[in-house]
Amino acid sequence: MTQQSRLRRMGWLAVLSLCTVCYLALHLKVHAVQSEVVRSERQIIALENRRMLLETEFETRASQEQLASWNRLDFGYAAPAAGQFVENERQLAKFGTPRGPGAPAPILVAAVTSGEKAPSFANFVSPLGKPVDERLLEPDAAHHDVAERTGATISIPLAAAIGNVRE
């Protein structure tokens, strides 16, 4: 037997034993996973049975007969009458009352969005003669900034408030 062939044989043996070891490890792993699956399945079955038991118990304790007797003894709820149902807008509108004679006009609240003819922001001037907030001096920039931050259109009250301050 030459040195080379002996080496080759030892190499094969090493490969074979490596494969065997790997196979054994894999085999053990598969078995471990399988038994875990079986255990989980058993757990699922047990939980499912338990769930069914609890659900059935719940259904039994809350049976129609029991609910009716509770209602009779404890709650005394009655079936709703026609007046308790509103089926459509017309019925809903029936609940509104017309304005009586001499009643004040209803207050209508309107908001002007920036896209429409919104008045520009008035300059904010401090009583000390010094601007308080630089951003407020540039209404457009401030406006955009606020709009960006809130992610919404801005409505008028801010400008009105500023106008008051200047006076």
């Binding site: 699922i44 038991l53 059935t56 259904e59 129609q64 007969e65 009458a81 149902f85």
Partner: protein
């Protein structure tokens, strides 16, 4: 010499070397042989093992999760998926006197002590009886249904003879509710009485039992029906009651009750007595509730064309019999008045004009000559006379005597009266929208529209006023028929029925309530007729079930009665 000596010295060692080499070769061969034999032995063992596994040993049972979760018997649910009957793994308490196996006393403690310990776990256990049972030393069930917590408590007693085998249990969470619809499962594992019996194969089929079977029953409606029926029945001391809520467009039974009922969770002798289903199995002469059918058949046949036509209301003498009304209703009556005041005399005349042949065919079209169409095994055969009807029979059937049908027959007929004239078989299985039975036309649309008006008038002006729940547009007809007894009728025993439908402007449900032998009591103002006992039940029931079934009360909506109103004057009828 030297050479010789050398030769002589060398040769033996060489020979020894050869010898060693041969011996080692031999050893190696022997070892190889042993190794080969070892391998062969192992292979042989493996082969033998395979043969053993294949031939002798049974295959290991496959336990898949799907199989373990498959119920042993399918679940039954209501139309909304609420479980009505289900199987779940449970335990029983079994007494096994041979468990200790030493031939001595089966119990470690005394029977009385064990019975006392068991009584602590099951408070309703009869201690004396259990003590006797344990002392007798015979195997048997102590309890058929034990909860897991109770199993632990029983095991804690420490008696080997008390075994808790796992058993499949059929549980009816709603208890006695819908007992006649569901039936029960007997000890042999097969269903009895109700849908348990009808669906037995389907519920046991391994390929189908994983999926619950939805019934047409709505458990809330069933609960309300049984609740009202029971309180109504007890209030007037009736011996029994039946109630049906039927969908007029699909034939689905939303609720079906027969009282007194039994408990499918616990079948005892008392329960076995109550298994008889009054709603589908017992036939009654349902009396005046037949009058609308007579009138509708006459309208369809062109016999009644003018509702204002007045008929004489004086007692009729036919073939030696006298047909009379309970009270004098005046000299003449028109058709709406006939129904409102429930006149036997005029109904008999209308039936007479219609003729036995045509009337009989209409009743046959309504299925009154055969058992009711329903899945339940308990279906009563009507008392139905074949062949040509003599004149007197035609006239008595005109007001609901001389023919006996089940309340379910009546419910199906009323749904044909109000749904536009189509009769459909009733079903207890949930029907998918669009899959309704085709049915057959019995009445025309026009007749059905008129009948809706007339039935509504009975509830507004006549005997059905106590059922006129505000906003629900109820219509219906009462019937109080004396019960047949030996040699005629028993005047003291009546069957009080109210057949109704709601909402009358577009009928969706028929409600039939029947009381068997109600008594004259204070609750019914010392009256025995349906107006005082069956009608108020419907009046209380409809507001409870209407919103559940999608019928909202509405005071601004009603069927138009303006063309018939002048015909009945100020209304008002006898009650």
């Amino acid at each position: 010499m030297n050479a010789l000596t050398f030769n002589a010295g060398f040769a033996p060692s060489r020979i020894r070397l050869v010898d060693i080499r041969r011996r080692q070769l031999l050893t190696a061969q022997l070892r190889m042989l042993l190794l080969g034999a070892g391998f062969l032995f192992c292979a042989l063992l493996a082969l033998l093992r395979i043969a053993w596994l294949g031939v002798v040993q049974p295959a290991p049972a496959e336990h898949s999760m799907a199989q373990a979760l498959l119920p042993p018997r399918g679940e039954i649910t209501d139309r909304n998926g609420v479980p009505l009957a289900r199987a779940f793994p449970a335990y029983a308490l079994w007494y096994n006197p041979d468990a200790l196996g030493d031939g001595g006393s089966p119990l470690v403690k005394s029977p009385a002590e064990v019975a006392a310990r068991l009584h602590a776990v099951f408070p309703d256990l009869d201690v004396a009886e259990t003590t006797r049972f344990l002392a007798a030393g015979k195997a048997g069930y102590i309890r058929r249904r034990v909860l897991p917590e109770e199993v632990n408590a029983v095991n804690a007693i420490g008696e080997l003879a008390l075994e808790t085998p796992a058993e499949e249990d059929r549980q009816y969470p709603q208890g006695r509710l819908a007992a006649h619809v569901l039936g029960y499962v007997a000890d042999d594992g097969h269903g009895r009485v109700g849908m348990e019996s009808y669906l037995d194969n389907r519920l046991l089929d391994p390929s189908e039992r994983g999926k619950p079977v939805p019934l047409s029953i709505d458990v809330r409606v069933q609960g309300a029906l049984e609740d009202e029926l029971r309180s109504g029945m007890e209030a007037v001391n009736a011996i029994g009651a039946a109630g049906i809520v039927l969908d007029v467009d699909s034939g689905e039974v939303l609720a079906l009750a027969s009282l007194p009922e039994f408990d499918p969770n616990r079948i005892d002798t008392q329960g076995a007595k109550n298994m008889f289903n009054r709603a589908t199995n017992e036939v009654y002469e349902l009396g005046s509730t037949f009058k609308p059918i007579t009138v509708a058949a006459a309208m369809d046949a062109g016999v009644v064309t003018d509702l204002s036509k007045r008929y004489p209301a004086t007692p009729l003498h036919v073939d030696g019999f006298t047909i009379h009304d309970d009270e004098n209703l005046g000299p003449t009556l028109n058709v709406p008045e006939t129904l409102i005041h429930s006149s036997n005399i005029v109904s008999a005349q209308i039936a007479d004009q219609l003729g036995g042949k045509r009337f009989k065919r209409v009743l046959e079209d309504l299925g009154m000559n055969e058992r009711p169409y329903i899945e339940l095994p308990a279906r009563g055969f009507p008392i139905w006379h074949k062949g040509d009807w003599p004149r007197l029979r035609t006239m008595t059937v005109g007001f609901g005597h001389g023919i006996a049908v089940t309340p379910l027959h009546l419910a199906a007929a009323y749904s044909a009266l109000v749904n536009g004239g189509i009769w459909r078989p009733a079903t207890l299985l949930k029907v998918k929208p669009g899959d309704e039975a085709r049915g057959r036309r019995v009445f025309t649309e026009a007749t059905s529209a008129r009948m809706k008006q007339l039935l509504r008038m009975v509830a507004v002006y006549g005997t059905g006023r106590k059922a006129n729940a505000p906003g629900f547009r109820v219509g219906g007809k009462t019937g109080s028929a004396e019960k047949a007894a030996a040699g005629g009728y028993d005047r003291s025993q009546v069957v009080a029925t109210f057949a109704s439908a709601f909402p009358m402007d577009k009928p969706r449900y028929v409600v039939v309530v029947m009381l068997d032998s109600p008594q004259k009591v204070a609750a019914s103002s010392y009256q025995r007729t349906a107006a005082w006992n069956a009608v108020p039940i419907v009046g209380r029931l409809i507001p409870r079930i209407g919103p559940l079934l999608g019928v909202m009360p509405d005071d601004n909506r009603d069927i138009d009665l303006s063309d018939l109103k002048p015909l009945v004057g100020d209304g008002g009828g006898n009650e």
